[in-house]
């Protein structure tokens, strides 16, 4: 899924029209929840810690073949011929497919595929496929691709393309009104998602029905994509994903190899499994695009912003890069704002949405700029942000925010990190040998309102068991558990009493697990189904208790009369009165998106230590204060925040895909050379939730958290490094050479 589609999803632009009117008062405002907002252990924890949780890579079906894909070694070439016969002749090979027609446009593009009885035979067969290429000129360095004389990546289209334009007010007037005008350029590199489980699909046909087990963040999206790609009705396709080893955006939508698995399975009449290699993961399933952001800001002496402009060059290979303008357009009160964004096409695989696409880059740029402005004004960076606080979207010119707890995030975060300990002047850190300490913070904004029209069913069985069925995905975020928590809370049960079924495209529709959509889409749908069940059950219980339904209260696995807990009937008795399994359909209702802006907010604070001799940076402490509405499960929410912050740390200090410009092949396509933070790099972390319940949004007042936990983390680290050194690095990852380079800049200046 590319950036634009992803952002449309995240903004709720593709949301189905809900059948239900927004629910009236639902009791969500009451604060005496037993499970919601508390810490509940994962309902599937036992499966995970015993190794019994079955991931797509673990699936083995009777007669299953292994599929392998041959990929182009050339960054651009015409495929003159593909001879599959030598591969087909190898004993144990059951099918071979030609996949490339005409041109291949990046090193790693699929050319041919085989299915064989085992992995070794499939690998040998791939080596026997004879491909004749006619190499063509290519360009993989995005800076060089901007040159009008560079080889054209897309036939008949320039490599440089417009990505985004935005304007409000008059920036030139704003700059004239300013006391201080700063222009600064920031860079972010190419980050790779690298989920622990590489992409995998297992396809099986039975009587014209296709079942695909896929490591995906979107079972419904893959189902629809497969139906289109194979020319079969969506009704004949089922996509299943029970457990998945991470995604972070690179497992959204249909993947090419999944179609290949389905085609090979159709041709051989046997199940086919394709698992991408770690190298494939670095080459052909996306990455976060780079950015080169030049900001210009005008500010008055008292800190009031008068104008902000951004010119960005993004590069996403064969795909469009990310627009990273949302933070500069939205976060701070500023009447004049202008944005011009370009994307540069190159002969590398297309980028994909990666956790908070565009926003992490934009936050790095904008938030670094804010700290440089604060330093120029001699102002506390947090005060500068408060000075320009907005209560409406679009820099205080758009719709009012339905709720915005950012001020509370600032306050809680500053207190927890000990903001007063920062160097009042950047670089004024006391020397501790070669180490200098600094504190920095950054603001995040994201969507996270959820998708109206999301469906969930609650099934009550006469034996007293309860099931929640929803075609959502648990990608490690704890979706199963929060569904159980919401159902149990509403029905007066314990989370472990609820069986959760998800990860199947035959189940009721739910959106992608991306865009921080899942909790604010699924939890309200589950709540709705459970409330309907309670209404029905209260009626039945009232008959058994010979009372009015309004007097019946639910809780502790029984129904009882208000004020008379001893007059009770157990749950199971009431269920039995239903006489058969009974389904209650729940739906996430709409919210007034035309009247209010619904966003999530957060403030990340970091304390770092920088070695001025080696350029090494250590993050000592992180505090994240998040406004994601009501938190459903505090335990898994904390885990989300830990992950978001440490991924931000990792991007800020270590992660960068390196390409060989001479061939277009990656130089660090493994987990040794592509550096990812380990436990040794992980600091002490304090997650804080300000719990601003948004009752206009949904029946639980809850918003998304996955991306808000990631947006500002790299920027907070960058600002802490600036605070420690007195000179900004202005580029991530802040590798030791780049830190030392920044220090040299500082020396040259003084």
């Amino acid at each position: 899924m590319d950036h634009r589609d992803y952002m449309d999803e995240a903004r709720g632009l593709n949301a189905p029209a809900p059948q239900a009117a927004p629910a009236a008062a639902t009791g969500a405002e009451k604060e005496d929840f037993k499970h919601i907002g508390k810490g509940t252990n994962r309902v599937d924890g036992r499966e995970i810690v015993t190794g019994r949780a079955r991931f797509t890579q673990d699936i083995k079906l009777r007669g299953m073949l292994i599929g392998k894909i041959l990929r182009s070694p050339h960054a651009c070439a015409e495929v003159v011929s593909v001879d599959l016969r030598p591969a087909q002749a190898l004993p144990g090979v059951l099918a071979a497919l030609k996949l490339a027609e005409g041109k291949v446009r990046y090193a790693g593009q699929q050319v041919a595929a085989v299915a064989a009885v085992d992995e070794r035979t499939a690998e040998k067969a791939l080596a026997l496929v004879k491909v004749e290429y006619r190499p063509l000129p290519f360009v993989v360095d995005w800076q060089r691709a901007r040159d009008p004389n560079a080889p054209q990546v897309r036939d008949g289209k320039p490599n440089l393309d417009k990505l985004n334009d935005y304007s409000r007010g008059d920036v030139e007037k704003g700059f004239r009104e300013a006391d201080v005008v700063l222009q600064r350029t920031y860079r972010t590199g190419f980050e790779i998602h690298h989920p622990t489980e590489t992409h995998a699909s297992v396809a099986e046909w039975e009587a014209g029905q296709l079942t695909v087990y896929d490591s995906t963040q979107a079972v419904h999206g893959v189902r629809d994509g497969l139906a289109r790609a194979l020319g079969i009705p969506a009704a004949n396709v089922t996509v299943i994903k029970k457990y998945m080893g991470g995604g972070f955006g690179c497992k959204l939508g249909l993947n090419e190899h999944t179609v290949v698995a389905a085609r090979l399975a159709r041709e051989t009449g046997r199940p086919v499994k394709i698992v991408l290699s770690r190298r494939d993961n670095a080459v052909c399933v996306g990455y976060r695009p780079s950015s080169l952001q030049t900001y210009k800001a005008g500010v008055k002496k008292d800190g009031t912003l008068t104008a902000l402009s951004l010119v960005n060059y993004a590069s996403g290979g064969l795909g469009a890069g990310d627009s990273c303008a949302e933070p500069v357009v939205d976060v701070y009160k500023c009447p004049n704002c202008k944005v011009e964004e370009h994307t540069v096409y190159t002969n590398t695989g297309a980028s994909r949405a990666m956790r908070a696409p565009g926003h992490t880059q934009g936050a790095l740029g904008l938030e670094s700029l804010m700290d440089e402005l604060a330093a120029a004004l001699g102002m506390d960076p947090l005060e500068l942000r408060r000075k320009n606080y907005s209560t409406r979207s679009r820099g205080d010119t758009g719709l009012p925010y339905s709720t915005k707890g950012l001020d509370r995030c600032y306050e809680a975060g500053a207190k927890a990190i000990g903001w007063e300990r920062r160097n009042a002047e950047p670089g004024a850190a006391a020397a501790n040998g070669p180490w200098r300490r600094g504190l920095g913070m950054a603001t995040s904004i994201w969507f996270g309102a959820g998708t109206p029209g999301t469906l969930a069913d609650l099934v009550l069985y006469p034996d007293g068991s309860v099931e929640i069925v929803c075609g959502t995905q648990d990608i490690g975020t704890g979706t199963r558990t929060h569904m159980a928590v919401v159902a149990a809370e509403t029905l007066g049960l314990e989370p472990k009493d609820v069986t959760v079924k998800l990860g199947n495209s035959d189940y009721p529709w739910a959106p992608i697990s991306g865009g921080s959509l899942t909790t604010p889409s699924v939890a309200p749908a589950v709540r709705d189904a459970a409330l309907k069940a309670v209404e029905r059950l209260n009626g039945l219980a009232a008959q058994l208790l010979k009372a009015e339904p309004a007097d019946v209260v639910i809780g502790d696995r029984k129904f009882f009369l208000r004020g008379a807990p001893d007059k009770a009937v157990p749950f199971a008795d009431v269920y039995r009165a239903l006489r058969r399994e009974t389904v209650f359909h729940g739906e996430r209702a709409g919210h007034p998106a035309n009247e209010y802006a619904f966003n999530t907010f957060g403030a990340h604070f970091a304390e770092v230590e920088v070695n001025v001799e080696t350029g090494n940076v250590r993050v000592l402490k992180f505090v994240a204060a998040q406004d994601s509405g009501r938190i459903i499960n505090k335990l898994t929410a904390e885990s989300q925040v830990h992950g978001g912050l440490i991924q931000g740390l990792s991007a800020a200090l270590f992660e960068e895909r390196v390409l060989d410009n001479a061939t277009g092949n990656p130089a660090n396509a493994n987990l040794g050379d592509y550096k990812i933070a380990t436990m040794a790099d992980a600091p002490e972390i304090t997650p804080l939730f300000v719990d601003v319940v948004d009752e206009r949004l949904n029946n639980l007042g809850t918003k998304g958290l996955g991306e808000p936990a990631r947006v500002a983390a790299s920027a907070a680290v960058a600002n802490a490094v600036f605070n420690a050194l007195g000179v900004p690095v202005r580029e991530i990852p802040m590798t030791p050479p780049r830190v030392l380079e920044a220090l040299r800049r500082k020396e040259a200046r003084s």
Binding site: G39, N41, R42, G45, R46, E47, I48, V49, T50, G51, R52, A53, R54, F55, Q57, D58, K60, L90, G92, D118, E119, R120, T121, K124, H194, P195, T196, E197, Y243, M244, G245, G246, F248, S277, R278, G476, T477, G478, L635, T636, E638, S639, Q640, H642, G643, L645, I646, Q647, S650, N670, L671, G672, I676, A677, T678, M679, A680, A682, E684, I685
Partner: protein, 207 residues
């Protein structure tokens, strides 16, 4: 495929032929029949060139005999031949710790460990860590502290942690960091993993 002619054949078997022999599976028998039954010079003297080899392993307390390729890794044998898929393949190069199993009680990266070397030894995988329905204290602590997110790296972390706590029953947070820094968790829930290992240590000390 490399089309260059083979190097000189001093011992009758070139290095290239040997490597090719090692790299071929079932096909090897057809392609290189003259190689088998011969010996080849190595630093440790001449060793027999063989095709597949029968080995015995005690896996999670149960003895088993199987035939493996000479270049087959323990990880692939566990996952593909014994259907013990709890042990995961993440990097396949000893960079992430995801495939960690215990070999005679000591953690090893199964992705880099030749199955033939495990002949006659005892292997514990994540499936064999619990005592029936009673979870190992490390497993319990991972659930209680939410020491995971997607769970794919979790078996590796748990195996290393369980062996580490046998050796160091009262570790400091720094010890835990050090011991587990060879593992990658891309969801990056390291603080809770560390907390879980600390809690497991306390549980184990209490007995």
């Amino acid at each position: 495929m490399d089309e260059r002619p083979n190097g000189k054949r001093a011992s009758g078997v070139s290095r290239r032929d040997f490597i090719k022999g090692m790299g071929t599976g079932a096909l090897g028998t057809a392609v290189l029949p003259p190689l088998f039954g011969q010996t080849i010079a190595t630093k440790k003297g001449r060793v027999a060139v063989y095709d597949r080899k029968p080995i015995t392993l005690t896996v999670n307390g149960r003895a088993m005999s199987l035939v493996v390729e000479p270049n087959e890794m323990l990880l692939d044998v566990l996952r593909d031949k014994l259907d013990l898929t709890g042990t995961k393949k993440i990097c396949g190069r000893g960079e992430c710790g995801g495939c960690t199993v215990l070999l005679d009680g000591a953690p090893v990266y199964a992705c880099l460990y030749l199955a033939v070397r495990a002949d006659g030894r005892s292997v514990t995988t994540i499936e064999g860590l619990a005592d029936g329905d009673r979870l190992h204290p490390v497993q319990e602590a991972f659930i209680e502290k939410d020491g995971y997110q997607c769970g794919f790296c979790t078996p590796g972390f748990i195996m290393t942690a369980s062996a580490f706590l046998e050796k160091n029953p009262d570790p400091s947070p720094g010890d835990i960091k050090q011991a587990l820094s060879g593992h990658l968790c891309r969801c990056a829930n390291y603080p809770k993993i560390r907390e879980a290992v600390g809690a497991a240590a306390a549980k184990m000390r209490r007995g």
